[in-house]
Amino acid sequence: MSSYYTSILYGAVLTVGVSLAALLVSLVLGLAGAGAKLSGRPILVALATLYTTIIRGIPELVLMLLVFYGGTIGLNNLLEAMGSEATVDINPFLAGVLTIGFIYGAYMTETFRGAILAIPKGQAEAAWAFGMGRTQTFMRITAPQMVRYALPGFTNNWLVLIKATALVSLIGLQEMTYLAKQASAATRSPFAYFLFTAALFLIYTTVSLMVLRRLNARYSLGTKRVQL
């Protein structure tokens, strides 16, 4: 195995890192967004709706370039305006994680909103009747049940998110797509390296799918299934 393959394998670690970090961001934003949409307060609902509508209408790549190049200049202008001599470079890892997390936060918002709505209202009312607060109701009653409803949508979002991490290579993060491109330019055998990278992505998505299926089975325990 040539050293290029090994370096692509190291790049895979970075791919996993970017995707998991972005997932974390998107989960937080998704929960916040779903909470805002269901809060019933007009300002919050309008903000969350604006967020999900706009983000889903713009390509990930354009947003990423906007955050990476625009963010760098914006920050530096801000520093200059505050009278500082220092310049900052946004690092591509952070830009990638934040943008992907921000984008998939919008998709997660819709998934979580649907999942919360799917839980019968009486459950939360019963919890309140027992004197639980909002947080307690969410942690003990809503969250454990919404996992089951959210999992199918979550699985889709996660698979798309994994594939979106390949785009981070375009802003210079040295994850596996970037390394494969470098290797293919250096060795003039692009087919082999891209195929190898594609296979690694396929393994990543396949393993994720298997884990999520297990999780789905675990969280669907005790639900009644009807055979038509």
């Binding site: 209408g57 713009i58 370039l65 906007l66 698979l159 087919f191 891209f194």
Partner: protein
């Protein structure tokens, strides 16, 4: 913020060319992809098991790997193969592999075909048994049942999912900018960014163009769903 630059004639023209390229890529890849998807969906729901496995593997790989890698594989990768290298100067279909537009189009079509085939196959499988039995009772052949009963209704029922796919494809065409010498909306924005060093303005303009295009597509699909799927809508009292 210096949006005046965006509205200078030569830059507007650049975005205009970009919009044309993006739309050309979108609609041609959707057209090619739809034909491929129909064939794949028929194979996926067909009686012949080996074909089902092969097409199933195809859609699995297409849906499991990033589009960017697929574009790279076709644009950079295929040129490596000696078999194609020997042909792309002279023999007809292979001469196209030197054109960036063709490579991007091929990658996008194959990709959207993978996703659309699975949607359509799902809709075909969901066709209610009664409809098919009724058609058989009329003495229709397998081919006729497919053509007159199953496909028209399955294609209509795919519409909501397909509209998502079309919007996703519009956004996916931005990856064409990763292929050198392709001037789509994103590439136009990148060029203006590097000419004027105005990333915010350049990419915000591109984002606005995509947003408008997405809303137009969504509006069009809402309208056609209203017409084509009216029989599935809840009854108005």
């Amino acid at each position: 913020m210096n949006f005046a630059v965006i509205f200078e004639p030569q830059n507007l023209a650049l975005y205009g060319t970009g919009i044309l390229t993006t739309l050309a890529l979108l609609f041609s890849s959707l057209a090619v992809g739809a034909v491929l998807a129909l064939l794949c969906a028929l194979a996926l729901t067909g009686p012949w098991a080996p074909l089902r496995w092969v097409v199933g593997a195809y859609t699995y790989v297409m849906r499991g790997t990033p589009l960017l890698i697929q574009v790279y594989l076709i644009y950079y990768g295929l040129g490596q193969l000696e078999w194609i290298q020997a042909r792309w100067d002279t023999v007809w279909p292979w001469t196209h592999f030197k054109e960036p537009f063709f490579c991007a189009l091929l990658a996008f079509s194959l990709n959207t075909a993978g996703y659309t085939a699975e949607m359509l196959a799902g809709a075909i499988r969901e066709t209610s048994a009664g409809e098919i039995e009724a058609a058989q009772a009329y003495g229709m052949s397998r081919f006729k049942v497919m053509l007159h009963i199953v496909l028209p209704s399955a294609m209509r029922r795919t519409l909501p999912a397909y509209s998502n796919e079309v919007v996703m494809m519009l956004q996916a065409t931005s990856l064409a900018s990763a292929v050198p010498a392709m001037l789509d909306v994103t590439a136009a924005a990148s060029r203006i960014y590097s000419d004027y060093y105005l990333p915010f303005e350049a990419y915000l303009a591109a984002a606005a163009i995509y947003l408008v295009a997405s809303f137009c597509l969504i509006g069009f699909f809402r309208f056609s769903e209203g017409r084509l799927l009216a029989y599935l809508a809840p009854r108005k009292l």
